[in-house]
């Protein structure tokens, strides 16, 4: 059959030929924002943890030690980092299949996380869940959900539960730009508002729904922020590559929820430096777009900001080294784990630990 090459046919056929969508410049004034230096050091450490862990995870795929799929947050780490810094240990987090960053940001140990990616019995889920379902209830990390939309509704439930139990816990749901077009998004936002639930919805707008530019399949420019008014919420957009900006807005939203004043939705504009998932080289994106966002990588930017704020270089270097050590240890821990065996296949379907459906 006649197969003209896509490039000949233009941007409708090859999204890499579309106009690039370029990042906004860094808002330098944010260095002056009222944020404790320790909070900032903590965020710098988290950025390093997320970045180095996922780079290692990527290497392990390439060695085919990680089976299945995996969705990395490389380039997007500032969102999980900034939001997590605004949360308390017993707050609830709900993430997507792209949940490594959010799990680590909330304190999941690297070893069991890495072991889960490798499908080992010492994985945080014993190998049953895998990369797309990282969960650590002991850290308030209530799960990573791999089917678009549902977890926004489930986060409502955790928030509702906190409200009923009279705790001041807050639930945070992370989701992507593409997720704003599925029905569950709409149902979740409406219910959160009418019940004044202590929940914060964080949209990570990385400009792409998998391989399709979000603007091509969304009726409004800002997929989350431009929908906020449909629920009587304020439109909040932050620079998703600036941990300080994310932190400041998250702090407000979390405080509002904790005070019983109801939900908020934050749209954090960011970009993934790699492909959507393991299999994806990301070729559908304009080269200059990828480049421009690479220049806005949150980590070197934040490194410079820390220096400008007077943090000695070697302090930052020390953190990077410590994290590198953690990642090496996690890798060893994971590799040392054995593959889960027959004994665990039929366990934990039911609360009694088993899976019997008959007598």
């Amino acid at each position: 059959m006649p197969m003209p090459t896509s490039r000949a046919l233009g941007p409708d056929f090859d999204y890499a030929l579309r106009e690039p969508r370029l990042p906004k410049p860094v808002d330098r004034s944010l260095s002056g924002a009222d944020i404790e230096i320790d909070t900032r050091l903590g965020m710098y450490r988290k950025l390093q943890e997320l970045r180095q862990f996922e780079k290692r995870a990527y290497d392990l795929f390439m060695q085919n030690l990680v089976k299945g799929t995996s969705h990395l947050s490389l380039g997007m780490e500032a969102v999980a980092t900034g939001v997590a810094a605004a949360m308390k240990p017993d707050d609830y987090t709900f993430a997507t299949y792209r949940g490594h960053a959010h799990s680590l940001a909330r304190g999941m140990e690297m070893g069991p996380a890495m072991a889960e990616l490798l499908g080992r019995e010492n994985g945080i889920l014993g190998g049953k869940g895998g990369s797309m379902h990282l969960t650590d209830v002991s850290k308030g990390m209530m799960g990573s959900y791999a089917i678009i939309g549902a977890h926004l509704c489930i986060a409502n439930g955790a928030a509702w539960s906190a409200q009923m139990r009279g705790t001041d816990q807050v639930a945070v749901a992370f989701f992507g730009d593409g997720t704003t077009n599925i029905g569950a998004f709409h149902e979740a936002l409406n219910m959160a508002v009418i019940w004044k639930l202590p929940v914060v919805f964080v949209c990570e707008n990385n400009l792409y729904m998998e391989y399709t530019p979000i603007d091509l399949i969304t009726a409004v420019k800002n997929p989350a922020a431009d929908r906020a008014s449909a629920y009587g919420l304020d439109s909040i957009i932050v620079d998703g590559n600036d941990p300080d900006h994310v932190y400041l807005e998250a702090r407000k939203a979390v405080a509002k929820a904790r005070a019983g004043e109801g939900p908020s939705m934050i749209e954090a504009v960011t970009y993934r430096s790699g492909g959507h998932s393991r299999a994806d080289p990301g070729k559908y994106r304009p080269a200059d777009e990828v480049e421009a966002w690479a220049d806005r990588d949150p980590i070197p930017m934040y490194h410079d900001r820390m220096l400008s704020l007077g943090t000695p270089e070697d302090r930052l270097t020390a953190i990077e080294r410590e994290v590198a050590g953690m990642v090496d240890a996690a890798t060893e821990f994971a590799k040392a784990g054995s593959e889960p065996g027959e004994s665990s296949l039929m366990t934990e379907v039911w609360a009694d630990g088993g899976s019997a459906w008959r007598n």
Partner: protein, 328 residues
């Protein structure tokens, strides 16, 4: 002893559990102020208040998402999905999230959660408000499935479902709502996974569920007139499935029948018949027969709906005919 309708037994059973456990809550559409479109939750709002009995928008995914999130963080929940046909609009939350999350997290979370829903035909509501979808739920690993046929079972199995730490889909049959029966005083708590032999017999076994149980009993009485002694089993819960009671009876009678309201293909009867065929093969004196609604959407006209759903008469005739064939 108090006489209670199947309809009132629902609220009665829920109230019993809400008094026992002050943390138990319920949500659904029109369940609070209106007492439910089937009037199965009348009085609960008055006794337990709007914090525990919540009216919701038409947002089934949000309803079950809220129920799931609350259950996994320690608040037991009863969620109502008005008609079982509507399970389809929130099927992802049920089949992919609630049913799988405990296993996927290797047991980190559990779901003390009951999804109540009005199931079944006979109301002339047509194909989108009359389905029997008990097989939809049975098919999904991680769900328990309950379908009571009497007021007392509604109360006892409701209690068992609420107290069960796993997610239960609880089917209330529309056409049984009006039926009344005496209920003992005091707390009533039943057990999941126990079928009941509601009529003893020696020649054939008829396993039925919900609305099909009284019809099977009626057929059995007519069969007795023909000198055929039929044992009738109310399966009561599809998961866990009481295969022991079912197999014991099949082995005893040697002829096994199921009466299903769900459409024919991949119904619960196919599962039970397959188990009996495998495990009681050498004890069967003839083929096991499934009496089901045909594999069509349900029609709304009374005359058509009555032809579609298995009747006592169809059960009776099918048993008689298959025994003749067996004999031939």
């Amino acid at each position: 002893m108090a006489e209670l309708s199947y309809r009132d037994a629902v609220a009665y059973g829920i109230a019993q559990e809400m008094r026992r456990d002050p943390s138990l809550v319920m949500l659904g559409e029109d369940i609070a102020a209106a007492g439910g479109v089937f009037k199965t939750t009348v009085g609960l709002l008055d006794e337990f208040g709007p914090e525990r009995i919540r009216d919701t928008p038409i947002s089934e995914q949000a309803i079950l998402g809220a129920a799931m999130g609350a259950a996994m963080t320690g608040v037991p929940v009863i969620a109502e999905i008005m008609f079982s046909d509507f399970l389809a609009v929130c099927w992802d939350i049920i089949a992919n999230e609630i049913a799988k999350s405990r296993y996927m997290t290797n047991g980190q979370v559990s779901f003390p959660l009951v999804i109540r829903t009005a199931n079944g035909g006979g109301s002339r509501f047509g194909a989108q408000h009359s389905q029997s979808v008990e097989n939809w739920a049975m098919m999904i690993p991680g769900l328990k499935v309950v379908a009571p046929s009497t007021p007392q079972d509604v109360v006892g199995l409701m209690a068992a479902s609420v107290r069960d730490p796993d997610p239960v889909v609880f089917f209330e049959h529309k056409s049984l709502m009006a039926g009344k029966a005496e209920i003992p005083d005091g707390e009533i708590v039943d057990e999941l996974g126990k079928a009941r032999v509601v009529r003893e017999g020696t020649d054939v076994t008829i396993a039925a569920l919900a609305l099909m149980v009284p019809r099977a009993i009626e057929a059995a009485e007519r069969l007795a007139g023909e000198g055929i002694s039929a044992e009738v089993i109310d399966v009561r819960t599809l998961v866990p499935l009481d295969t022991k009671t079912i197999l014991d009876s099949a082995v005893k009678t040697g002829r096994f029948f199921t009466v299903e309201e769900n459409p024919r293909l991949c119904g619960w009867g196919a599962e039970v018949v397959s188990i009996v065929g495998e495990e009681a093969f050498w004890d069967l004196d003839g083929p096991s027969i499934r009496i089901t609604t045909p594999h069509i959407p349900l029609p709304s006209a009374a005359s058509l709906e009555d032809m579609a759903i298995p009747s006592a008469d169809r059960i009776y005739k099918t048993v008689v005919e298959s025994l003749d064939v067996g004999a031939a």
